[in-house]
Subunit: 205 residues, 2 copies
DNA sequence: TAGATTGTTAATCGATTAACAATC
DNA sequence: TAGATTGTTAATCGATTAACAATC
């Protein structure tokens, strides 16, 4: 079932959801694959095809009810619930991630922050108390945390990932500028803004 | 020429470059498409095919000289030069972006920070003086800045993008959680970590 | 030389798009 | 009804992979 749906389709659903939330905030109640596609720079056929993997959410002639489609997508993506997220690394980058309001606003609650530096442990970033790296396995398995963000130097990232996975983490958002090797049952996504910039400079004469 | 190479190929070059820089830092002098592929989770055939768009960088039997291939990729991507980058938005997110060391370390120098809030203008984030939004066109066109990062609320992002483009910006890294509509000759990349998390929660039972 | 690895071609695979019957 | 838009099928397009001659 889930596994039969191409990951590239899954990757677009959050984009659709974000657009629907924006449309709702602007006061719209109904939309169409054409309107969504125009906003997103995606063909209407692709949007209809993507959605059709999960059911028929629209009506011929009228399009999609925004509130309903948004709700359906939230269920498909499992973002109806709040998720607890662990953050590893409390340096410049980790601190910035911890302070970013966008996670909690959209259902991802950073519940624990870890760092290896003894002088940081016990201190706080905002409302987060910093835990020692040696507590990762205990805390993450006890709290059954499935999602983690890595914001440590590249050299430490793989080893942190290994510990997280052993503790039960199944989804990792990696801010360290390095590829992680993980088992098939673990999902990894990467954030490295410099990669995006380098991709664009190719086109700048 | 450049336009005949698929953008998906271009998107992988910075990943190769990053891996090569890591290999070099680890003291390696030579690598192969197999070794690179194993590190990156990409097939060796794909790496060879991607590189072959730009020339023959390797030798049969021995592979690729890391220093040479790295240099070639840097030239292809136009990252031999330092790039000046404008940053719009000096709120929580913009401040974090301004403080991130990774940009300058890798050749992207934030040269100007803009914000619309009168109480922020004239103040500083780290070493950056905050300029008023009304100076965008003057400064960016005078300095011939081609790259900008947007870190303003979603509602303001499109209008900021329009101003930047009018001033001469041709590549935008957008941290605002909204799709931007821009002319064909402008490149946009997006960073929204929540999208990555939502893509992974789909697979979490 | 023998083994290894490239660069490239052809085959396969998968994703996007076009088109349209169904129907609101 | 007439116009609009969905969901889906078939056609097209493009990307990945397999395979191997060339050659270091």
């Amino acid at each position: 079932m889930a596994s039969s749906i191409p990951d590239i389709v899954i990757s677009r659903l959050p984009i659709y959801l974000r657009a629907l939330e924006r449309l709702a905030a602007e006061g719209h109640e109904v939309t169409s694959s054409h309107e969504l596609g125009k906003r997103l720079g995606i063909s209407s056929a692709q949007i209809r095809k993507d959605l059709s993997h999960f059911g028929g959410f629209g009506k011929q002639g009228t399009g999609y009810k925004i509130a309903y489609l948004r709700e359906q997508l939230r269920q498909v993506l499992n973002v109806e619930q709040e998720w607890e997220v662990a953050l590893v690394g409390a340096g410049d980058l980790g601190s910035a991630v911890a302070r970013y309001r966008g996670f909690a606003d959209r259902g991802f609650h950073i519940s624990h922050v870890f760092d290896s530096a003894p002088d940081k442990v016990g201190k706080s970033i905002g409302s987060f108390k910093i835990h020692p790296m040696s507590d990762i396995k205990k805390i993450i398995s006890e709290r059954n945390i499935r999602i983690a963000m890595i914001a440590v130097p590249a050299e430490a990232a793989q080893s942190v990932a290994n510990d997280l996975i052993e503790a039960g983490v199944r989804a990792i958002l990696n801010y360290a500028p390095i590829n992680l090797n993980v088992p098939d049952y673990v999902h990894v996504q990467y954030i490295d803004p410099v990669l995006h910039l380098q991709r664009m400079t190719f086109y700048l004469v």
